[in-house]
């Protein structure tokens, strides 16, 4: 069991480092210079145009959404990082500890929050690019597994909570 958890911890570390480095590389490659043209917001804005339709507003929105997408990817990596304390607890033999229950809940939260936020941001992004956005298709293509996975972690947290109670009761049976 100890060897298995060590292997799992190593795999988790490798995945975390790989996804973090991919994210950092994507941020590096993201051309922030493209926004230089509209950084002098007040000088270039057309005062007669409605703010929401102005080119600057659209570009800034695109910029904000891109930053949001990067942030959410970082948030997902943060969620995956919660597997490490769970594996540590399992290695120590504390299978049904409060820490594990809390971490399972956090992972569930991260998965569901990530999926919902990504869908919202993608909707805005497609609205900005005047693309068509099909909610069900978006849900089907990439995120179908993350919502059930998030719910599964919630259920797992609840099962571990009950298991902890049973373990305590078992300890107090003489």
């Amino acid at each position: 069991m100890k060897d298995n958890t060590k292997i799992l911890a190593i795999i988790t570390y490798v995945l975390l480092v790989a996804s973090a480095s991919i994210l950092l590389n994507d941020i590096r490659e993201f051309d922030f210079n493209q926004f230089k043209a509209f950084q002098n917001w007040t000088s270039t804005v057309n005062k007669n145009e409605s703010w929401f339709r102005s080119e600057n507003a659209i570009k800034w929105s695109y910029y904000a959404i891109s930053v949001g997408l990067f942030f959410l990817r970082g948030y997902l990596i943060y969620g995956f990082a919660h597997f490490l304390p769970i594996l540590k607890e399992v290695e120590l033999g504390h299978y049904f500890s409060d820490k594990n229950i809390k971490n399972f809940k956090k992972i569930g939260n991260v998965f569901i929050t990530y999926t919902i936020n990504i869908l919202v941001l993608r909707y805005f992004l497609s609205a900005l690019n005047a693309d068509s956005f099909h909610f069900l298709n978006e849900l089907k293509i990439e995120f179908t597994f993350l919502i059930p996975a998030g719910l599964a972690f919630y259920i797992l947290a609840e099962i571990f909570k009950r298991a902890k109670e049973t373990e305590e009761e078992n300890k107090l049976t003489i």
Binding site: E169, L172, T173, I174
Partner: protein
């Protein structure tokens, strides 16, 4: 908990120490302390049998129901 464990009374009657009883029935002193303090959630029939055998008594001598 409305179930009272009167192990102390029986130990005094039999002039036996709880450590001694723990050794006879094969449980740890920590578990004996849980049993004596009434913190135990359940008692196995095997433990009850061993206690009754060691103290020459009936289960009713050890366990008592008191309404809350």
């Amino acid at each position: 908990m409305p179930i009272i464990v009167n192990l102390d009374v029986m130990l005094t009657k039999r002039n036996m120490k709880s450590k001694e009883l723990a050794e006879i029935i094969g449980i740890t002193t920590a578990n004996m302390s849980i049993l004596k303090s009434g913190k135990a959630k359940a008692v196995r029939f095997s433990t009850l049998e061993a206690v009754c055998k060691a103290l020459y008594c009936q289960p009713a001598d050890i366990l008592e129901y008191v309404e809350d």
